[in-house]
Amino acid sequence: METIFTDVLCIGAGLAGERVAIEAASAGFETICLSIVPPRRSHSSAAQGGMQAALGHSAMGEGDCPDVHFEDTVKGSDWGCDQEVARLFADRAPEAVREMAFWGLPWNRVVPGRSTYFKGGKQYEKVEATEKEGLITARDFGGTAKWRTCYTSDGTGHTLLYTMDNKVVELGVRVHDRVEAISLIHDGQTCSGAVARCLKTGKLRVYLAKATLIATGGYGRIYRETTNAVINDGGGAIIALDTEVVPLGNPEAIQFHPTGIVPTNILVTEGCRGDGGTLLDVNGQRFMHEYEPEKAELASRDVVSRWMTHHIRTGLGVKSPYGDHLWLDIRHLGEKHIKTKLREVEEICNNFLGIDPITQLIPVRPAQHYTMAGVRTNKDGAAYGLKGLFSAGEAACWDMHGLNRLGGNSLAETVVAGKIVGEKIVEFLKGYEVQYNTAIIRSGVIKQQERIERLVSGKNGNDNVYEIRSAMQDELMERVGIFRNGPDLQKAVENLQEIHERAKKVGLRSNGKGVNPELTLALKIQSMVRLALCTAYAALQRTESRGCHAREDFEARNDRDWWNRTLATWREGDDLPTLDYEPATQVVELPPGERGYGVCKIISCDGDVIGDGTS
């Protein structure tokens, strides 16, 4: 068996994984990144809109500072986040943006003088200060008090990732691309690397490391309709859950983005609404300002997605062969703005819909978008349950997003957390020596080899892996979506348990040789269904509404009973996760209150009822 030794193993070479790698390599530690795809194709590259950091250079961002960013983040999370982490994040985001500029990122800059902008379909004027000329500028995003989202046109994720990978190349950090980690090597206490499958040859390989990082991004592909890339199918969460000791934080916390295009669910950025785009119904009428007089189209994502779904349910959606949808209107922003600031959007509409957004409306509806859920870590990024295991980025539940993350806060998280967790790994490694237990390594490898043999030979059965995945995706879409309720969730759990049984009986139809794609999925399918069960079951237990988790049968946010975080682990042989809970935050800088948007009904810590459920 090919065995590779390194100090740090970063599983994932998106923004978070590479940022950690840069920190570790700069401190002199040998570092290897693994990635399913060449690093620059990681899904970070698809982020369009921008990255939040309180620089306060733009006119509409005047007076902004980390304190305001912190407050927006906590409110956005519906008080589900760890406030110490949110504070750390907000304080260090400006530095992270500047560092990326120093490394070569072409951020858009302040252009002094008068210019116009749109809000709610109306045109306004702003004046940018001459003394700010050439500093990094920002655009508006949902759920924020100030314009704070730094951007490069609508290719922010792309430029961030290219700049980051440039740095990785400069430092000579090795990236083993087309290598997929399929299990962690551990003894129940310490993690010492991973077993991986090479996606160029199909062969297994062992990586032994003093510190292992899970930075595998989100896992939206457990849902059928998602904005996520096809590779976002849960690899990182799976290898953590399979340890039986590392918990997933808040698996019920799944975000839907208001504007996936219909039918392909490709995202058009929140920047469309940030820049003044509006949502229209079947009658060509705006409706968001009726539900949210203050923030209208720019309330937080969970809120906008819910009102859109509600509006469609009242019969005001646009009928189509792919189901009902609404319209996104950016026509009034004009050709120049669309062709410079929203050019990816323009390309996507033209290529995938045959629609020209300069003159035509864009069909949209909410689609799964972000997993706040993830490998639970402490504020240093160290995973619960195993020493030597860390996590960062969308894969982690660090937890600055709580039950809802704000647009632009996720790119920012990858870079800020990447830096912080990188620093902590460096601290951890100083003077840290390990002995590798060969028996554990061998048994870990044999287990994977046997799994592969059984799948190829059909010893477990011959259930079709694609059908099982499809059944799981439908179940989540149908019953664990934007609005949730007890009976549906109960049904989802039962159905998923059945699907879980079927997943154990998967057998390949092809020969499984080399980089066989059917085998790649078959190796994951059972644990993918477990991820789905974690989401459904935790959602069933959480009898309140908070952030993205909206229970029709429990409409209030219940700070008395549910101001906490779910921790889900999976014991081998079980058919449900084990759920534990911990307080959402140890440090309370901003006591629970009203968000200022969305339905307001709160059961306070003392049990008082605030608000009546209208906004």
């Binding site: 194709r41 560092e99 800059r109 500093l135 290719g155 440039n166 040789k513 794609p517």
Partner: protein, 247 residues
């Protein structure tokens, strides 16, 4: 609608000793707004689950899915079947190492390219976390972004006559990258240093200027302009070098 599409797909699994390069034929009923991503996924899930190909973002953003589509390199995910004839022939990109069927190893190639052109800002300054960022004109930022939009898909390389003849040719993508850094005031490299990298036959002087590259670039990068600018600049550098070294 209602067309029955015929797909001729190149097949070869180098990891399987029994596999030989050949073409397989598949049929599919065309559906509305069908892309090659939808079609190939369907073929894999319904007809042949061993079929290898690469998709990631499926939105024309990540560059994973370039292949030869009826003889021309393009991103499969953003190719609509309605723009193609009834018979569709799919081949892997040439030049890049074959992994299997339609899947090729672009990762290794592009990493080497990035190393060769030293695709990063070269500066003697160090980062000061407490200071404001250095100022930059927004127009300059946008010019840089224009060239930074390359998604390293490899279409331009596959379409390039020179690259097909000589494997050490860096390709339009590398030249575009150099042009991007030459625009960037933060990069302190001199013209002579850029010249070192691409003022050669593997670089700008190997380019025959036939512009196969620009025609196929799915991001519509202005490769023709950049190659022209580089040729002029590097031509001058070549003259200067000649005098300096008296070659």
């Amino acid at each position: 609608m209602g067309r029955r599409l015929k797909f001729n797909i190149f097949r070869y699994n180098p990891q399987d000793p029994d596999s030989v390069p050949h073409t397989d034929t598949f049929y599919l009923a065309e559906t509305e707004s069908m892309t090659l991503f939808i079609a190939l996924t369907d073929i894999r899930e319904e007809q042949d689950s061993s079929l290898q190909f690469d998709f990631c973002c499926r939105a024309g953003i990540c560059g994973a899915c370039a292949m030869m589509i009826n003889g021309r390199p393009n991103l499969a995910c953003k190719t609509l079947t309605k723009d193609l004839p009834d018979e569709i022939t799919l081949m892997p990109l040439p030049i890049f190492k074959l992994i299997g069927d339609l899947s090729v190893d672009t990762g290794t190639w592009f990493r080497e390219m990035n190393e060769k052109v030293e695709s990063w800002v070269h500066t003697s300054k160090s980062f000061d976390p407490s200071a404001d960022e250095e100022r930059m004109d927004d127009a300059v930022a946008e010019e840089i972004y224009e060239l930074e939009r390359c998604i390293e898909c490899g279409c331009c390389v596959a379409a390039c006559g020179t690259a097909n003849m000589r494997r050490d040719f860096v390709g339009a993508v590398a030249m575009n990258r150099i042009a991007r850094f030459m625009l960037d005031p933060r990069d302190q490299r001199t013209e002579a240093e850029y010249f070192e990298i691409i003022g050669t036959d593997e670089g700008i002087f190997g380019c025959m200027g036939l512009l196969g590259c620009e025609d196929v670039c799915p991001k519509h990068l202005p490769l023709q302009d950049q190659l022209g600018i580089l040729r002029r600049k590097m031509g001058w550098s070549a003259v200067k070098e000649l005098f300096r070294f008296g070659k």
